[in-house]
């Protein structure tokens, strides 16, 4: 096609309007590069269309350009500062959240620890209370025993150790004749060997008649190292022998630890 034919074809007008299919647009572009008159023709078409569109437009506000300029500058600024500043609120937020979580965990642990130690303390308190009540009971018991032993109704006797068996041993007897009650303090006796037990005897001298009063064991214990025996037959002497467990019918005289006469 000659330049004149191209100009007359109507393709250039469509080209400027943007209505020409791509392959024909390429042809026009090739023609523009080759023929200055085609370029000139296109410029004239464009100019008249440009003026037509301008006449249709209402007055364009100056603010429109200001707005465009601000927008493209904001976009640029945001692009520059994005990496540096935009992340801070997020970082701060996350840091605060992590600190907060850590704080909660720490406080939970503290509470847990406190609860545990409170429990331990409570248990210790209970144990101490029990111990205290035991000690108080014991003290009351001892005081009671002491009261009894101090009263004038009780007579005190010291049973010296048998020279043959236990020269160092001794025992103390507090005896209430009226009520036939005896308290025996065995602190001066050695601890009985395994399987053996001390037995307390009431003795009549003429003729020698031993009567078992009971065993020195937990059943008769009245206080620390002090044992109580009731229905104690009025004796003339007290004896304590070491007997096999459960006690004996008659005293094993070879194991007589202490013996004391009642002197009236």
């Amino acid at each position: 096609m000659t330049p004149e034919e191209i100009i007359a074809s109507g393709n250039l007008e469509l080209y400027v309007c943007g209505a020409l299919p791509p392959e024909e647009a390429t042809e026009v572009e090739e023609a523009i590069a080759l023929h200055p008159e085609i370029k000139r023709e296109i410029e004239l078409i464009e100019e008249s269309l440009l003026h037509l569109a301008e006449t249709v437009a209402p007055p364009l506000e100056a603010m429109t350009w200001t707005y465009i300029l601000n927008s493209i500058r904001n976009v640029k600024d945001m692009g520059d500062s994005k990496v540096r500043s935009l992340n801070w609120p997020a970082i701060t937020g996350w840091a605060a959240a992590i600190l907060f979580m850590g704080g909660i965990m720490w406080m939970l642990k503290q509470t847990n620890d406190l609860n545990n130690s409170l429990q331990v303390t409570t248990t210790e308190n209970t144990v101490l209370k029990e111990e205290k009540s035991t000690v108080e009971n014991q003290l009351a018991e001892n005081n009671k025993t002491l009261e009894i032993l101090r009263s004038k109704d009780y007579q005190a006797y010291t049973l010296p150790g048998n020279q043959a068996v236990a020269p160092e041993a001794f025992a103390k007897v507090y005896f209430n004749k009226k009520e036939n009650v005896a308290y025996i303090d065995v602190k001066g006796l050695p601890a009985p060997p395994r399987g053996k037990v001390y037995q307390v005897w009431s003795l009549k001298m003429e003729p020698l008649t031993p009567t078992s009063v009971g065993l020195i064991d937990s059943q008769s214990e009245a206080g620390e190292g002090i044992y109580k025996f009731i229905n104690f037959p009025a004796p003339e002497a007290f004896g304590i022998t070491l007997e096999p467990e459960g006690g004996s019918e008659t005293p094993t005289l070879s194991q007589l630890y202490t013996l004391g006469m009642i002197t009236i």
Partner: protein, 177 residues
């Protein structure tokens, strides 16, 4: 008017002054195109802003070796305006825009750009044949393809091309003298 390729290249390299001068050269025409589609000054001004922000952001996608800069702008402007007319918000406020063309705007509006020119334009608007008004409106202002214009106007596709040339020639004589 020769295409200001040096300004275009400067803009593509981020030169705001060059961009400003291109806006001065093409802004009103783009406004006219958009206004003829959306027929609302505020909407049209907002869309002009959108179009030129797009132009700045996508400047590298245009090449001075391929196609006219004005045609490139025209496509962005028409697509932006047509997208707007398809939006829900727009549809709720306005209807039946397709029946309005640039001549209707010229005849009805009393706040036209370039008052002196507008007086002269009245004459050429009267002089332009109704057939020319329709075909320029579709191909230029509304961005129709030849086939679409042929279907809408119910004339053969070959006739579209030649009639468009004749009509724009008439326009040239009146606008450029």
């Amino acid at each position: 008017m020769e295409q200001p390729n040096d300004l275009i290249i400067a803009m593509q390299n981020g030169d705001e002054k060059a961009f400003s001068r291109l806006y001065t050269m093409y802004g009103e025409a783009i406004y006219g195109i958009i206004y003829s589609i959306v027929l609302d000054e505020n909407t049209a001004e907002e869309l002009v802003q959108d179009v030129f922000i797009k132009v700045w952001n996508n400047a590298s996608s245009y090449s001075v070796k391929k196609g006219r800069f004005f045609t490139w702008l025209l496509n962005i402007a028409r697509n932006t305006a047509i997208d707007e007319t398809r939006s829900k918000a727009f549809k709720n406020t306005r209807k039946n825009l397709s029946t309005t063309n640039f001549v209707d705007i010229l005849s009805s509006s009393d706040s036209l750009n370039r008052a002196t020119n507008a007086i002269g334009l009245k004459k050429f608007v009267d002089a332009l044949k109704p057939a020319c008004i329709k075909i320029i409106d579709l191909l230029y202002f509304k961005g129709f393809t030849q086939a679409e214009a042929s279907k809408t106007l119910e004339i053969p596709i070959g006739t579209i091309k030649t009639r468009n040339r004749t009509c724009i020639n008439e326009l040239r004589v009146m606008v450029l003298g």
